[in-house]
């Protein structure tokens, strides 16, 4: 027991050192502002991809409209800071929570279908959200919103990313996660086990929406400018590419996919228009050689909780399916 506790303490110390170290490097301009912004972008993409992984990887559904939730988070938080002058942390949380609420409401009709039909419905909601934002004059219509405070900095992104990953990891290995994985593996068998499939799916959808909203809020306050056309299906496609590049059903894979793809696009910046040719080519080569993505659905050992303990938990608990 003490061994696992010291390990956990070690993990948090490493994270703390990493965060403080990077922040210091940024403060003393050893890493310049441009690189810092790329690192922040990587963090935001990790949050997006990991939360999408919850639906596509662990729940086993095929949602392709994640940019819609990102847009909601960005806009709601921007309304909070620009129009109501709320503190950033409040706007961030309100953005996440309201997005979760909308995701839940969208999920109610959406989960009446499944498979490719669900994909189309999620994409449809993405398009509708963008279309509405384009038509609401209060948030600037197609011009979008400007003058967002520059509240997002490295520490905000770093802390949110780590929290997202830890929360998602704990959820995935909890009873909730087992329910989701049961649904992914066999819906009917899961139903036979007494799982309320619809409710479990809605929970996952709302949680994923919450984190996508947070990521959107961080993104908006990083660039200080948002407009509806940043959140179209092209953005959703980017997230899908990162997700599948890393591997479905692997949180470490999401981190890897988001980091590699975001980093790659920056490294290739010198190639001009050819950058957008090279990056899909690399994706194709990876998919042809490793069809399950870089990590498949595996996780490194430190992410997975100890087996005997997990087995004990399962035997004592009925799947939490309310």
């Amino acid at each position: 027991m003490s061994k696992s506790r010291s390990k956990r303490l070690g993990f948090w110390l490493v994270i703390l050192a990493l965060g403080v170290g990077m922040e210091a490097l940024g403060q003393f301009e050893i890493i310049d502002g441009y690189v810092m912004q790329v690192i922040e972008l990587i963090g935001i993409n990790i949050i997006l991809v990991a939360s999408l992984n919850l639906i596509n990887g662990f729940l086993g559904e095929f949602a392709i409209g994640h940019a819609g939730f990102m847009a909601l988070g960005a806009y709601i938080s921007a309304i909070g800071t620009v129009k109501f002058h709320l503190p950033f942390v409040v706007a961030l949380l309100v953005g996440g929570l309201l997005t979760a609420g909308v995701a839940y409401l969208i999920g109610i009709p959406a989960f009446k279908t499944f498979g490719d039909y669900l994909a189309v419905i999620t994409l449809g909601f993405n398009m509708i959200i963008v279309n509405l934002l384009n038509n609401i004059e209060y948030v600037g219509g197609p011009r979008g919103m400007v003058g967002l405070p520059k509240s997002t900095n490295f520490l905000w992104v770093f802390a949110t990313t780590i929290l997202t990953l830890v929360i998602l990891r704990n959820l995935v290995y909890s009873n909730y996660g087992r329910v989701w994985i049961a649904i992914r593996e066999n819906v009917i068998a899961a139903e036979m086990m007494g799982i309320n499939v619809n409710r479990a799916k809605l929970k996952a959808f709302a949680i994923a929406g919450f984190f996508a909203g947070l990521a959107g809020a961080l993104w908006g306050h990083m660039l200080q400018y948002i407009n509806p056309s940043s959140f179209t299906y092209l953005k959703s496609t980017d997230m899908l590419v990162m997700l599948y590049l890393g591997g479905l059903g692997s949180l470490t894979g999401s981190v890897l996919g988001a980091t590699l793809m975001t980093g790659l696009l920056e490294v290739l910046r010198d190639f001009g228009v050819w950058r957008m040719v090279i990056s899909p080519l690399i994706l194709l080569i990876i998919m042809l050689t490793r069809p399950l993505g870089l990590l498949g659905n595996r996780e490194p050992r430190f992410v997975v909780p100890k087996e005997p303990k997990a087995a004990e938990e399962v035997s004592h608990n009925v799947p939490a399916a309310r």
Partner: protein
């Protein structure tokens, strides 16, 4: 009334183009269970093939169309060969993401080599206007509707009556038994991609003639819309593509006519969602019974 007829014609024109592209999605889906996201870009490539054939070889409409259809079919088959065939036994999602990769590659490769600017499509037809009950019809509109209709009837005939069509239906029914019957899956898949791509190229040239500009990213929005049309009608069903395409065309044109045009896409998707909620497997799809 004349306004209504005018809009009806516009809707028919847009709808038949959506239907032509949706056919490619639905055929590939029926055979491989794959959403071929690169299909919208084959539509774009077809338009560019038509553009270069018309400009450089100075061919007239019919030869341009046929040559572009052939080239697009070759491109479609090549994509299947290089990118999809090695993954046929891989999980479906890997195939879908590969298709997304192919799509991004085609768009950006076209842009990098030919430039991102819009090009005006050469006039392959002397556009003439006719009066019809107060509305004006152009021979181009009639051409678009007739060509789409003829191709769809031809495809129906191929799928229902010919050997390769029977083989296609057999593939979507049961891949294992197909091999026992001595039919090569690869041949059927090749034919499917070839036919689907040729239809997309036709749509590309028709769009080039009707809205006379083309650019490397023209396939994205139209591709998604056509995919939605295919799902709306019931993906995997050839009649479904026709029904879905026409409905989407009508909804878009009439939403734009009755409401502020900025709501056009939003309305189209709202209707799509409502239809899918009432008929979760598309308008013509049969309910799927899942067994353990």
């Amino acid at each position: 009334m004349s306004y209504f007829i005018q809009q009806l014609l516009n809707a028919l024109q847009l709808g038949s183009i959506y239907a032509l592209i949706a056919l490619g999605y639905t055929m590939v889906y029926g055979v491989l269970g794959l959403i071929n996201f690169a299909h919208g870009d084959i539509f774009m490539a077809g338009a560019f093939f038509g553009f270069f054939i018309a400009v450089m070889l100075k061919l007239s409409l019919i030869p341009t169309l046929l040559l572009a259809m052939f080239l697009a079919a070759v491109l479609g088959i090549a994509i299947e060969r290089v990118a999809y065939r090695p993954l046929r036994k891989a999980p479906r999602m890997s195939l879908i993401i590969t298709a997304l990769g192919v799509s991004l590659f085609l768009e950006n490769f076209t842009r990098a080599t030919l430039g991102g600017q819009q090009r005006s499509f050469p006039k392959l037809l002397n556009v003439q206007e006719f009066a019809l009950g107060g509305a004006t019809v152009t021979n181009l509109q009639i051409l678009i509707i007739v060509v789409s209709l003829v191709l769809m009837l031809l495809l129906r005939y191929v799928v229902q009556k010919t050997m390769i069509g029977k083989a296609m239906r057999a593939v979507s029914d049961n891949k294992e038994v197909l091999a026992l019957m001595g039919i090569s899956l690869d041949t059927v898949v090749m034919a499917t991609f070839g036919i689907g791509s040729a239809l997309a190229a036709t749509a590309g040239i028709l769009v080039g003639m009707a809205y006379p500009v083309i650019d490397p990213y023209m396939g994205i929005a139209v591709g998604w819309k056509a995919f939605i049309a295919a799902v709306l009608g019931g993906i995997g069903l050839i009649d479904g593509a026709l029904v879905g395409g026409l409905i989407l065309g009508f909804v878009e044109i009439f939403a734009a006519a009755l409401l502020p045009s900025t709501y056009r896409d939003g309305i189209a998707f709202a209707i799509l969602i409502i239809v899918l909620l009432l008929k979760p497997t598309g308008l013509l799809g049969r309910p799927v019974v899942k067994k353990v």
